[in-house]
């Protein structure tokens, strides 16, 4: 039954392709229905206590392709389908001013199919194929508006993304050359004895290079700062909330923890990349006045937190990293939706031109206040707990510098988001925005849903931790014998 996650969006994409031209909002109905069904299925995967293995075409494990859903991929399934469902509801009224919307919804369903396909597959080459589907549909979605900046940003994203995918394909070629098998479980088994061969290490470094291009970690973050502001807001909330996480962090952690086995110098690499992108992301974000570009730089620094948490490798660190990944997808997509709401009403992304919006757009300003507080890590909200775990893990693993940098970066994040609040919502000086009214209901619904989720996760974090985050991190912690379960 697992194949539903990637086949249902494909079926809805084809239906939209045929019926989309007839009536205007048929395509929205099909897309939202499909993502709602998948959201329910993704919640169901938590309650199945064993690893779901499905062999496509009935062939035994190493010969055919097998689909694997364990607790770690069910965490990602929840994140993907939740944010997709809310962005689809949001884009009902946001996308009214564009015509031929069926292209948008087809590409959205294909992006969903690609992301779900990446998460449920248990085969290395299949991972690459679905990664391509998700990347190409996100290039097309970034270029959807057709303006000058969007096209140029999408072209830069396409070039860097294709370099990343060719590195990943090169890594797969080396692994196939040495082990001549493509199934992840089979690879991890046959890696037991011939681990430190130079071709395996070269393949691993190619994978890390390719996937860190996809996650926009610091040396390769150039495309993210252009791509996210250029995309329409529901897409940029999908991009920074879900796509860079699933393509990058899921791929990195699945390869490093479950296939290659975690060791000391790998954790050094991850910690270095994490702290570097954490610090550089926030430093770049301070001087920004374009709301969406500021949020894009903050995504880079928050992903740095997640990679740092995973890099520490201790159970506390992995739980902190995954929990921060879960929280970050919630409040970062909420922030992008707020930016979209402001842009929907005032047609500007520049913080200086915004004015006293809190009276005029109450829900948007309150939800963005909640999101800003939780991204900065203020106690009652969800961001605090995950950052706390990461900082504790860093100090327990006596990485003093990393711990202090974590605290420093979260302070700077707090400062820059207070600036956002002040200029966007509470600035009493320019009064020329009195006449506008609140954004339509569909945008309000998804923004308030995410804001309530932010609060709930913050308050009931032990519940969330035990049912979703803890089992996912157990999969990573006991690493290699995850595949023994699959093979027998």
């Amino acid at each position: 039954m697992i194949y539903i996650f990637s086949v249902l969006p494909l079926i809805s994409a084809f239906l939209i392709f045929i019926f989309g031209r007839i009536k205007e909002n048929i395509s929205w109905i099909i897309a939202t229905l499909c993502s709602f069904i998948l959201l329910i299925f993704s919640f169901l995967t938590i309650f199945s206590n064993k690893v779901l293995v499905y062999t496509v075409g009935g062939w035994k494990i190493p010969f055919g392709i097998c689909l694997v859903v364990d607790k770690f991929s069910s965490l990602f399934l929840i994140v993907i389908n939740l944010i997709t469902f809310l962005s689809l509801i949001y884009s009902f009224s946001y996308m009214k001013k564009y015509d031929r919307l069926y292209f948008y919804y087809i590409l959205f369903c294909l992006l969903l199919a690609g992301l779900n396909g990446v998460v449920i597959t248990g085969d290395l080459f299949n991972f690459f194929v679905f990664l391509e589907i998700a990347s190409i549909s996100s290039y097309a979605l970034v270029a959807y508006k057709g303006g000058k900046e969007e096209l140029e940003a999408s072209f830069k994203y396409l070039i860097l993304g294709s370099i990343g995918s060719s590195f990943i394909l090169f890594g797969i070629a080396f692994i196939y050359g040495r082990l001549s098998t493509l199934n992840m479980a089979d690879i991890s088994n046959s890696l037991e004895f011939n681990y430190n061969k130079s071709s395996i290490i070269f393949a691993l470094s190619l994978f890390i290079a390719g996937l860190s291009i996809k996650t926009a970690l610091v040396p390769f973050h150039a495309w993210l700062a252009d791509a996210h502001p250029a995309a329409p807001s529901p897409i940029s909330s999908m991009l920074s909330g879900v796509v860079i996480k699933v393509l990058g962090v899921y791929g990195l952690s699945r390869l490093i923890f479950n296939i290659f086995g975690f060791n000391y110098n790998l954790s050094l690499i991850l910690i270095f990349l994490g702290t570097l992108s954490m610090v550089v992301g926030v430093l770049l974000a301070i001087g920004q006045w374009d709301f969406k570009r500021l949020l894009a730089y903050h995504s880079i620094s928050q992903i740095g937190y997640v990679v740092l948490g995973l890099g520490i490798g201790t159970p506390m660190g992995i739980v902190g990293g995954l929990f921060h990944l879960f929280n970050h997808s919630i409040f970062k997509s909420l922030l992008f939706l707020n930016a979209g709401a402001i842009e929907y009403n005032i047609k500007t992304k520049n913080l200086k031109e915004m004015g006293d919006l809190s009276k005029v757009m109450p829900i948007t300003s309150n939800s963005s206040l909640i999101a800003s507080l939780s991204i900065a890590g203020i106690p009652p909200f969800c961001g605090f707990w995950s950052k706390l775990f990461i900082i504790l893990a860093a100090f327990m693993a006596n990485l003093k510098l990393a711990g202090f940098l974590c605290i420093l970066v979260s302070l700077i994040t707090l400062a820059s988001f207070l600036k956002v609040q002040k200029y966007a919502f509470l600035d009493k000086t320019n009064k020329n925005f009195q006449d506008i009214k609140e954004v339509p209901f569909s945008m309000v619904f998804s923004m308030s849903f995410l804001a309530i989720l932010c609060i709930l996760v913050g308050l009931f974090f032990p519940l969330v931790k035990d049912y979703i985050i803890e089992p996912a991190s157990n999969v990573l912690i006991n690493g290699k014998d995850y595949f023994k379960v699959i093979l027998n």
């Binding site: 086949v7 494909l10 392709f17 062999t55």
Partner: protein, 147 residues
């Protein structure tokens, strides 16, 4: 014959013959996908090339009378849905996603390998119509560029 768009008369005379040959060759490659090299992908691209050959030789307006955008979209959608239906039929009949449920026959004759022939045909439709609609979009775009 007034040369309305497209290349010279000689090219048009020759393309009348070669287009049908290329089309036939593409269908042959697709049908014998499981017996000889080639298959759904190669056959589909050859079909798309035969239509592009027609458009390049006879000019856009002549070629689009027979094979315009809506037919390309319809064929592509049909090919995609056919391929999904084949994969899903495996569930209803044999309970497994991509099961080869059709009778397999004996090795060397045409209807021999179950769903391989059927999915070859589905991919053939999708690749052919898809690549041709890319070419239509590119050429229509350039057309409006001139106005």
């Amino acid at each position: 014959m007034k040369n309305n768009g497209g290349m010279s008369i000689i090219v048009k005379r020759i393309t009348r013959i070669t287009v049908s040959l290329i089309f036939l060759f593409g269908v042959y490659i697709m049908l014998h996908g499981h017996l000889s090299p080639g298959g759904g992908f190669a056959g589909g691209v050859i079909i798309a090339l035969s239509f592009i050959h027609l458009v390049l030789a006879f000019g856009k307006d002549f070629a689009f009378r027979y094979f315009n955008k809506t037919l390309a979209f319809f064929l592509e959608g049909l090919g995609g849905i056919l391929f999904l239906v084949i994969s899903l039929l495996g569930i209803f009949i044999g309970g497994i996603f991509f099961l080869n449920f059709l009778p397999k026959g004996s090795p060397f004759n045409l209807f021999s390998s179950g769903i391989i022939l059927a999915s070859n045909f589905a991919i053939f439709l999708k690749v052919g119509a898809g690549l041709f609609s890319i070419f239509i979009a590119l050429s229509l775009y350039r057309l409006s560029e001139k106005e």
